[in-house]
Amino acid sequence: MAVHTGPSVAKAPGKATVPGPRRPARTRESGVRRALSTHWYAWTMVAPVVIVLAIIVGYPLGRGIWLSLTDATEANVERTIGVNHIPATYEFTGLQNYVDAFGDPVFLQRLVWTIVWTVACVSITYSLGLALATLLNRQVAGRGFYRMALVVPWAIPGFVSVFSWNFLYNEKHGLLNKILVGGGIDAVPWLNDPTIAKLSVIAVNVWLGVPFMMVALLGGLQSIPGDLYEAAEMDGASAWQRFRHITLPGLRPVSTTVILLSTIWTFNMFPVIFLLTRGGPGDATEILVTQAFRMTFVDSPRNFSTSATWGVIILLLLLVFAFFYRRVLKKQGEVW
């Protein structure tokens, strides 16, 4: 509005210019006021969401960041014991916790394995999900049944399926080894050998993750127009060429989102690791979150500041990942 007034006044020569009352300079304050007066309805509508988010996301996040900058442990935080109130005595220590964490060889070991675990899980889950989705995206007898059956792992609560896998993997009484031994093959120490345990936990996480990938990618596949395939076929494109040049590009919007989500979930997949191996054997399968848990809930006095530090570091790592992921996609012309 203000931009328009200037020139329109200037374009009116000859007319008697009556200097009207000067418009007040457009300050920030008036902008806010105007935004409120114009959009008050919208603000009222989003207020509940903002408040709920602030309480369930913002408060724990803010508290976690604050604790990571202190030396808070169980022994110096505020406590209420019956009528006795013990005030908090922990102190602000700046970035000391972060310096300690990055200097700790344990942190680097866990970080390396967490990255290996995430990359392995996400890539296998994505490939399998894509393969299954492609298979189910055509007319096959009993398609509905297959789709149902493949979604089952998703429909069972995660911890229930992890427990079932625990039984299957049991070296001495598990079903898997019973079958192997019955077939004359030596029993495999599924969760008792460090290397095999790593493969075992990845397998379970893939099993849990495939249905989501498959359903999401199947949706993506069905949104690719069929005439593209027809046209390609007319031009003599082979099945691989059609997959490579129609299916994959057509799936990109879905793929980018599910890969990002899957990465974040896998990076922090506490239940699979904790319930299957508790991070063991030894500490072979310990990822960053399970290690942070170990530090908070096993040691005494429980160290709230260190585990908060690890939590914030995990958040930062994922933020950095999401940021670069987005940038790479943007560079490739993806509207995201």
Partner: protein, 427 residues
């Protein structure tokens, strides 16, 4: 718009965080209960951690017996799984709401809770009754900083549970040393096809008797030094690795408890290391349908001695309890000679009062007969607040040795480093 929302959310969350850090105090007063005209009244909530299915019914019935002696008191029995109880109690005790009045506190938890101010000192209260009657070892874990914070409930240690039939078939005696165990294992394997010993590979508590057997310990509280990386500890790591490598012992790095119980109950192994708390469960197994088939012996000695860790449980009273008088009285009742004798009769757990061992029913109990001398010579664990935390680093390294991820030397050194981090003033 989007940015606006984000900004609002940020401001809101910062404001909330700021107020939350200021702290909110809620005074809880006007607690009901206590003494009314000399008679106890109100509710006493007790968190028990005993095994569900075998032990909990007995303790619940006994706890409710308190209501008969004090009709106005209601006992609220809550069974909390042992594995969760420590954190659950800490959370409840520090927030000031939801904590029980009385908790069955494991011996290592007691100094931990006491150091954080969660427990009421019991000196001079009704809870400490006939103090001289308690076994000295059992009472040791209740002291912290010169005060008493618990009343011993049960005391325990570990021994070898063995399948008499299997050992007889193989024609071997219960091994008294690790060397004998290795020899016997070969015979047991060739005659019966079974493994000799199940060794829990996922819990460091099962490593302690080997550590003591080589003359080692985790830490020395007298001169404040870490001893887990000394030579005896390295020898102990070597000894357990040797047992597993020679196939004298079978082990697991995960699910050790379930696998161990299944193995001994189904007669798949001849022996397992365990304590009185597992007797009821073990006897329920197929291999022990004839109870006479079940035998208990001391843990095999290492190169230096035979030693097993002392464990057990105490009754402790929450410092913030609204009904302290009734809680003290409840603890007194639960740890009385009469109740202890009943616990032993029904569950074969070892009493903590010297006088109870004289009761005919207790004295005749085979499990008690066996474990009493074991407990008397059991090695006391370090009763420091960090005592319970010493297990996690040791367990990681113990499993690493058994699965070949670390040498005994590396494991000992790594555990020692963790201990020095945990215990700030130890050398």
């Amino acid at each position: 718009m989007r940015r606006g929302i984000a900004a609002t959310a940020l401001v809101a969350s910062l404001a909330l965080a700021a107020t939350a850090c200021g702290g909110d105090t809620t005074d809880e007063s006007g607690a009901k209960g206590g003494k009314s005209g000399g008679e106890l009244a109100g509710t006493v909530t007790w968190w028990d951690t005993s095994t569900v299915g075998s032990e909990d019914k007995v303790f619940k019935a006994l706890a409710e017996g308190f209501e008969k002696e004090h009709p106005k008191v209601k006992v609220n029995y809550v069974n909390v799984p042992f594995a969760d109880a420590q954190n659950k109690f800490k959370n409840a005790a520090s927030s000031g709401s939801g904590a029980p009045d009385v908790i069955r506190s494991e011996v290592a938890w007691t100094p931990d809770f006491a150091s954080l101010g969660y427990l009421a000192p019991l000196d001079g209260t009704a809870a400490l009754d006939k103090e001289d009657d308690y076994l000295k070892q059992a009472a040791a874990s209740t002291k912290y900083d010169g005060k008493t914070f618990g009343v011993p409930q049960v005391i325990d240690s570990v021994g070898i549970f063995y399948n008499k039939k299997l050992l007889k078939e193989a024609g071997v005696e219960v091994p008294k040393t690790l060397d004998e165990l290795t020899e016997a294992a070969k015979v047991i394997k060739s005659k019966t096809g079974k493994a000799a010993l199940y060794l829990r590979g996922d819990d460091a508590y099962w490593f302690l008797s080997f550590l003591y057997g080589e003359g080692g310990d985790m830490i020395n509280t007298k001169d404040k030094s870490v001893t887990i990386d000394d030579k005896p500890a390295i020898d102990a790591f070597k000894a357990v690795k040797e047992l597993v490598d020679s196939k004298a012992a079978v082990t697991d790095a995960t699910n050790g408890w379930d696998n161990m119980q299944k193995a001994i109950k189904d007669g798949e192994v001849a022996m397992a290391i365990n304590g009185p708390w597992a007797v009821t469960d073990t006897l329920a197994g197929d291999a022990f349908k004839d109870k006479a088939n079940f035998g208990v012996a001391p843990v095999p000695a290492g190169s230096k001695t035979a030693g097993s860790p002392q464990g057990g449980h105490n009754y402790a009273v929450y410092a913030g309890s609204k009904n302290l008088d009734a809680s003290y009285e409840f603890v007194k009742y639960m740890s009385s000679a009469k109740v202890q004798a009943e616990v032993t009769e029904k569950l074969s757990l070892l009493p903590t009062r010297a006088s109870v061992y004289g009761e005919p029913k207790v004295a005749e109990n085979e499990i008690v007969q066996f474990f009493k001398p074991v407990v008397e010579t059991a090695v006391e664990r370090p009763w420091v607040p960090e005592g319970g935390s010493l297990f996690a680093p040791l367990q990681t390294q113990y499993t690493k040795v058994l699965t070949g991820q670390a040498t005994p030397e590396q494991a000992a050194k790594s555990t020692g480093d963790s201990y020095r981090k945990l215990l700030k003033d130890y050398k």
